[in-house]
Amino acid sequence: MKVNLEQITAELQTNMGDRLEVYPDAYFTVLKVMPADLLTLMVYLRGQAGLNYLANLTATDLKEEFEISYHLYAIPDNGLKIEIKTRCPRDRAEIPSVFSVYPTADWQEREVFDLMGISFQDHPNLVRVLLPDDFAGHPLRKDYRKEA
């Protein structure tokens, strides 16, 4: 399935208007959305753009807020490389889970929850995956200080 990138971004922008920010970086086409629109966007990209493969899901601590990035590809490859970025404030670190669209988000979201402390709404089993269950804190946050 050959998909035209311009067509998709144009369609997305007519649908979502200024809630969507599109810009290319050196390797990806970056789509910036608000957490509220994340699931709609994901459903659209998976269905219309054939991006059936969520390669990577990670989060970065930008001091005031967290940035969550999703790297999407298609299997078999259709030439699209899309990165979705969304942000959530530090004091209310909550974004919707994309597990219902991409099951592979299951453990990757758990990992982000574990290490960065972002909770994913409607995740089926949001518990720590790498650290022990009784661990206090989220080590990848910039303000995390290890004791001793």
Partner: protein, 366 residues
Amino acid sequence: MFETDQYTINIGPQHPSTHGGMHVEAVMDGEDIIDVIVHLGYVHRSVEKIAESRTYSQFIPYAARLDYMATHLPVLGYVQAAEKLLGVSVPERAEYIRVIMAELSRIASHMMFVGSLAIDLAATTGLLYCLRDRERIMDMFEMTSGQRLLAAYMRIGGVSHDLPDEFFPAVNSFIDDVPAMIAEYNGLITGNEILQARCNGIGILPADTAIAYGVTGPNLRASGIDYDLRKADPSGIYDRFDFRVPVQEKGDCMARLLVRLEEIETSASIIRQALQQIPEGEILGKVPKVLKPEKGKEVYHRIESAKGELGFYLLSDGSEKPARLHVRAPSFVNLMVLPIISRGGKLQDIIANIATLDPVLGESDR
């Protein structure tokens, strides 16, 4: 008076066949598996946090310790990601050396896979034959980098040492012997009736489930999807080689074994081509002493490692240390389907399923 009941058994974290510290909690009814819950983190070394306090070059040895069964592949992924971030170019000869090393690592990892599958199914001798052949690769790593298992050999901008003279006869004779080795594994391991009975139709991973759960690498190709990043999204100079991506249709343990056996041959043919094409010249490009990418620049770089898509996400804050490094570990993501493919099987199938998903806990736990 008598009633049957479900019970849980804990396979691991100290168990002979979990390939490291992994804890698999199996809910059982007799010998039948009702559910499987995977607990990870026993080998968690906070690599991503450590990266934030190391410079870009200092992280290389940590990358080598991710997938310690194929040490050059995670290093290759990391240095290529860092090169993308820093805009460093790599000399031709170094690119070829990297390909040779990466493919040797892939062969080593797949040999370990075949051997560990054999010993997990109690065919001890199979493991020893694979280790014997892998030993020759380890010797070659020692010749080039001085290290056998955890060779931090690649540098940002090239490799640390040129190939020594004794390397070429060793690698040539190794590649020539690969078909004989495969024939031996086929006779001892793949051809064994009991092993076939334990692998055929066991742990079937349908293609759509595999894609939905982000399974990549040989495990995905065993489910009939022709998706190899060396072809689909080639990094470095992989587009210069002519090779065939092995694909199996069934998606069971046997398919995962056969795909890897064929990949050993594919990798050998890539090495052969690289050895024919390798030019003379520099092995380390012009790289500044202090590496400072521009602020806010980010990169997600992925390579086809022995386990699947190994991705490195790097974000720079303008200093000489990354603001964020994330490893997209194929072992971690692939393990997600272990419960799915194990449900409804027998206790002994879990062992075969773990072995054929081929997780490396150093990578999955990071």
